[in-house]
Structure formats: C-alpha cells, structure tokens
Assembly symmetry: C2
Homo-oligomer: 335 residues x 2
Amino acid sequence: MPEKVGSQTIVFQNDVCISSYAAVVGAKEGEGPLGNGFDKVYNDELVGEDSFEKAESRLQTTAVQTAIKKSGMTEDQIDYMFAGDLLNQCIGSAYGLKDFAIPFLGLYGACSTMALSLALASLFVESGVAKHTIAVTSSHFCSAERQFRFPLEYGGQRTPTAQWTVTGSGAAVVSCGKNGPRINAITFGKINDLGVKDINNMGAAMSPAAAETIKAFLDDTNTSPKDYDLILTGDLGKVGSDLLHELLLKDNISIAENHNDCGLMIFDLEGQDVHAGGSGCGCSASVLCSKILNEFKSGKYKNILFCATGALMSPTSTMQGQSIPSIAHLVNIVK
Amino acid sequence: MPEKVGSQTIVFQNDVCISSYAAVVGAKEGEGPLGNGFDKVYNDELVGEDSFEKAESRLQTTAVQTAIKKSGMTEDQIDYMFAGDLLNQCIGSAYGLKDFAIPFLGLYGACSTMALSLALASLFVESGVAKHTIAVTSSHFCSAERQFRFPLEYGGQRTPTAQWTVTGSGAAVVSCGKNGPRINAITFGKINDLGVKDINNMGAAMSPAAAETIKAFLDDTNTSPKDYDLILTGDLGKVGSDLLHELLLKDNISIAENHNDCGLMIFDLEGQDVHAGGSGCGCSASVLCSKILNEFKSGKYKNILFCATGALMSPTSTMQGQSIPSIAHLVNIVK
C-alpha cells in the first residue's frame, strides 16, 4: 500500500519500475546534444502527415508503440494509459492514442504533464490495480507556435526569455517488479501564481511552482538536495532555472550543484538559436525517456528527482489580462 | 486494497463515500426541472466577472467552496483535488481553483471529466493515500459557444441534433468512511471512434463509447441492468440516448427501463428550446451533485451507474476533417 508522508508526498512500498521507455523527436532535437539517445528522429516536420497536429499525434503513437515493443509485451498487457499534451482539447493524445484498445485517462498539466502522467501511472501499479501502465506526452514546435503565438509564416520575433517548444514525445511503461529504475515516491503540486504576466517568460512564471514542490518533497521525506544525484526540472530553461535557485536559497536550500533542466539539456543554447531553452510537454518526456533513464542503466544515476513544471494559462486568459498560474509535479526515481 | 476485476473495472474493498457535494448553475438551468435542487442559481451569466471564461472559473470556485463548507471541514483537510473543463488549456479549472492550497491534478476527458475526476478522487481514498479528496468540473454556455462554435453575437442557427452546453459546476467531496453514498466500483473507458464527423451531433459520436463502457462494467462485475436503480449517462441527449439503447440491444442488453441521461434531465426539452438536450462538463456534474445524490438521501436510489461521456475532438481537428473520438468513464454509487 502506498503511504502518504508529510503534506503532499506519497511513498511507495512495493516494487514499481519503469520497465521500458522510448522517445521520438524532430530534426532540431535530433541535432542537439542528446541526439544520439533518441529512438527515432524525424527529419520531416509533418512526420508523413498533412498537418502539424496530426504530426504531433503520430509522435505519440510512435512513442507508445516503440515503448511497448521494447518492453517485449503486447498492447493487451497494458492495463491503463495516461496521456496529455498542450493542444486545445488535448487532441495530440486523443487522436494519437485512439487506436490502442487500452483504457485511457486524459490529463492536462501543461508542460508538467509527463510528471503527472508518470506519477499516476506508478500509483496505479503501486495500488495493485494494474500490472503495467503507460505514461506519454508530446509537443510539436509548429502546432504550439500557431496555437499559442503566431502562425509560422508570420515570422514573429522571439524575446531572449522565450523558450523553443520541443517537437517530440516520450513514453514510459510502468510495471510491477524490479525490471528497471524504480519509482520510490511522488509529489503532486499545488497551483502557484505570483502574478507573472509575461507570456514570453514561462520560466519565470513556473519557477515558484518548482520551488514549492521540490521544497514540499524534501520536507515531507526529510531529505536534502545532496541526497540526490540529480534534481531535474522540466523545462524552466535558463531564466527559470536561475530563479528557481534563488527562490530555494531563500529557504536555505541549495540545488546549484546537482540541478539540471530538460529545457537546458535538449538544445545547444549557444548554437541552436533557442534563446532560453526548450519547453513543451514533449521536452521533459523525451529527455527523461532517453538520456536520463539510459544513465540509470549506465550506473551514473541512482537516485534522482524529476520535477516537471507547467504554465496553466491559455491565449484567451492572457488576452484577458490574467496572470500565469503554474504547477509542478515530482517523481523520485531510484536505481 | 482496490481490486481489478475483468478487463477494466476496479472494485473497492474499503468504505469510500461522497461525504458532501454542491452544484451551482446559471439562470436557464435554474428554470429547468431540477431548478430547486441546486445550491445556487446565478441569474447573471457573467457571475459578477467581466468575461465568460472568468465566470466559468467562478462557478468552479463556488462549487468547491460550497461543497467543502457543507462537509463541515476546512480546505486544509482536503488532500487532493481533481478537476477539468472544456476550455482550451482547461483554464476554467486552473483559474477557478488556483487560490485553494490543495494539490491539484488536472484532467481532460471533455464531458466525461466528472466521471474521470470522481473515479480518481475515489481511488486515492480507497488506496489510502488520501482521507478526503474533491472532484469538480464545469462548463458555461457562452464560453463554450464562442470557443467551439460561433460568437453569440453571430446568432448562428442550431441543428435539431445539437445540444445546449450547461452553465454550471458540480463538486463532490470523497472521503473514507460511510458518511454518504458509497463508491463501489469504477471503470475507465477506452477511446472509441466509429467515424462520426458531424460536430452538431455529439450524442451520436459518444453513444458507442457509453455502450462499450457500460458493457465492460456489466461483464466485469457479472451483473445486468436490472441490478441497478438507474443507469445514468452524462450527456448523450435525445439522439445519443436512443442510439445507446440500440447499440446495447445488439448485445442483448436492455437498459430502456432504467436509463436516464443528465442532458435529458436538466432541461425541459419541449419548453426550453435546447434541441437534443444539455451537454458540457458542467451538465453531468451539476445533475449528479444535486438531484441524483439527493435521491440517495431520500432513499429512492440504492445502486446506480454514473457513466459520463466525452467527445475528444477540437475545432482544429474538425476543420482538418477528422472524425470524433469519444470516451466514457463509469462510477458505481451505492447506498
């Protein structure tokens, strides 16, 4: 039985592991520093489809198919799937996963969704109601740009604080047993809103949520940053990461030595013209489901915190002058 | 510990109950047949706000505040909240709930979301990781019309198969113990797509999902429709309800005698010009959290199935010629 500790953390008692995973990405991500760790790189931004939205769905389909195939299982062995994306009405997930005959739980946590889906997928296994579940999210630069910002044809300028939405999808199969890195604990975050309204500075809006969730986890488990090989946020980028360090230092928590951010890892910030780094549901998902989980196999990581962050605004709420609420969920992964 | 039975149903072993609930609605819903069962009826469609989206958020805020107040508890006793709505990026929930200091799990299941949120809220209590959780969803006629169809000022005609989005929100507090109707079992549905493309006929698109989930539940639990006082779908409306009966009859399952639909209950179909009935995340939520749960107190209902249905398309997927995937989740509520 899972056990709640402290204010908002759930510690697992059973063996719950990530038994398989896959990440598929676009060309720019393939050219980045993590390029050779992905399962598939699509050089065609339409991924063989006739719209960017269909292309994003195809990324999810492929990530799930690949993760299941690598697990050595078949689709009918997966009990539940948990998915989400950034598109209106989450059509990346609905259309990408509609042909799998697996009970589907749709989630929305903006860019925090991979941590949300992985946490729920794990909890179902821990609770004994599932033997195998799958967690998946996606994003696509082109579908995100035209939905959240401008049509690509417009050629809008980007501010230095802006992040580049990752074209990619990551999927993780969660299973009972010890056949892979284990999920040890999960923390669901609260919505946080410090009043940031700059839609071109998501990192600033999301950093307070990351700080709050990381602090809650450390307090709940009575641990400190040095207990972890890596504290990985998903996708604060450069601006948000710096702010996160500052915010946590106010509580005398220093993470500078072992913190990294999926948005800083997936692109070469100097060479790839992505300004403050990567973002999107597919950013943390594809980084986790390639480089990070691979490093558990290599032995580099034994105990990490994966804390994905999401900005919960929409273009409509922004046009109506509202600030940007944000949230962060956390998953503790151990060898 | 919860137990999985059959292909996709989870049966609870502990006492998990709906200890409190509340529903708040707009003027048209207040004038309907269920009008006197709601906790609050707003005659101002803006609910004191300056936009329809903010009004929808306010409905969620009020529903949650009222449900918590009626429970006799305070906000800090609620361990987790589960919420969703129809607006792009689910801003109805994010802005409506951002001031509650409660860990937040955002969901998207279109109009099925109340069953999804109630099922997850219950499972957290059943699994022992929460003592009290809250499930809430909302919709608003005006925010939905301008997002999914036309600006109200355009005065677009509606087809006879179209449904009227409910302005309302329903919230349920789920607790361990026997202090209210109990949750006995839950079934998470699979995505279903029979190729319906008519965006003005959601009932037709969603009925196959309802049929599949109801059949899965009956098969998994080895029960038949006559075992239940009420099989309540959320919001197939008139067209979809008739199709659901037809589809289930093909499997020799007759629900005509004890089936009703939230979309058929909330409005007077003849007198209120709503065509095929009500719809929206707020429809099944506000009907469940008023009339239906009240009838458990009166003793009319002892064992019901609540099966909310959702159409997972977006205006973008429709414009790109895609069909409408749908889903239905089910919650078995007993005295």
